[in-house]
Amino acid sequence: MTRANKTKGLVAAAIAALVALPVVADENAKLIVNDEIEMITEAPAPDHMENMTIIRSGWTFRTKETQALQMDDFENPGMPAVDAAMDAWNTVEGTAGKACATCHEGPESMKGVRAVYPKWNEAAGEVRTLTMQINDCRTTNMGAEEWKYIAPEMVAMEALISMQSRGMPVNVAIDGPVQATWEQGKELYYTRFGQLELSCANCHEDNYDNLIRADHLSQGHINGFPVYRLKNTRLNAVHDRFRGCIRDTRGETFSVGSPEFVALELYVASRGNGLSVEGPSVRN
């Protein structure tokens, strides 16, 4: 209910210094990874967002301990998966006898890619998530089998690709050919699903920074994906998270990779325009 805790400043800082707040995150902490990559964890809300002025990364809502895990790649539990993806990147697979590396050289060639996905693919005439693009390369360019939408191999590859853009601001396009999909995603975001009749906005826009039972509600951004969750001790895909959040409304979810979730991903990504790409990030 109260939004008083959003009025930050010297007073709050002074109080924080005096009172121990065990579960509350230090929302003014700075995220610098490996003492090197400076992340934008708070930014002015993009113009298209009518109800918010400031956007904040999910990192700012987590405890000091969880925050620290993301500040050093040696401690980031998502990194072993990235190593595995590095091997996959160099592995020849499929009838064309090619690896990702055959055409794309090192993964550094993917710098900037994560920041602009989902995006329009002109040739295919569709909005593509990073997942769809990777699978298109596997099938069309390699003659290999698709990976399942949220298979560990897929999520790990997304982590490897996201890493190349860490620190760059998310900047997905919302107009032109993607506009209709974006509108669909927005509509889904404000739909009150399930027997509990809750929309994404009810929790992540109306109530961020509030506790819902033991959970400190964030703004539900996806700039940190894939996200290593301490709760299930693995990297998690965006659609996996969406599915969990709709399930928690006692609602019928959409499938991972469905047109609805692609649209929702585009819309949610655009709410984070201006925050840094953080993946693989760490959350609880």
Partner: protein, 160 residues
Amino acid sequence: MRLALGMAAMSVLVAGAAPAGEIAPKDVVYDEYGAVETSLTGVPGDPANGAAVLANRGTGNCVACHASTALADVPFHGEVGPMLDGAGSRWSEAELRGLIANAKMTFDGTIMPAFYKTSGYIRPGNAFTGKAAETPELPPLLTAQEVEDVVAFLMTLKDE
């Protein structure tokens, strides 16, 4: 708007018969402020069971959104809704019954779920499985007697 659709759906569907003497969800009568005068069961509520319902994740889980000093021994209270202390002084029994049965009749568009309602949902699921509901009407989140028990508990939350 959604409410209107919900009501239409309800009048088309035939609700499962409520046990004798109970008012079925579709038959609950709300006054213009959302209050419900008549007990849903005619059986006085049990405040101790009501307190248990507020704390139970599987039924009321009210503490997910509300804090309450009387339930201080239950871990983790939310802050999405107002503190419940003094609710029994702020509201009459009929108002509380209406608030629990369907808070949207009292607070238009509120985030608080309707606990004694069976239809009018968008993509209703089969509890927390993420799968589609198996019947057009869902069992209400609370039984009629649980609503009465919760109301009885809330009535004990008086201002000092």
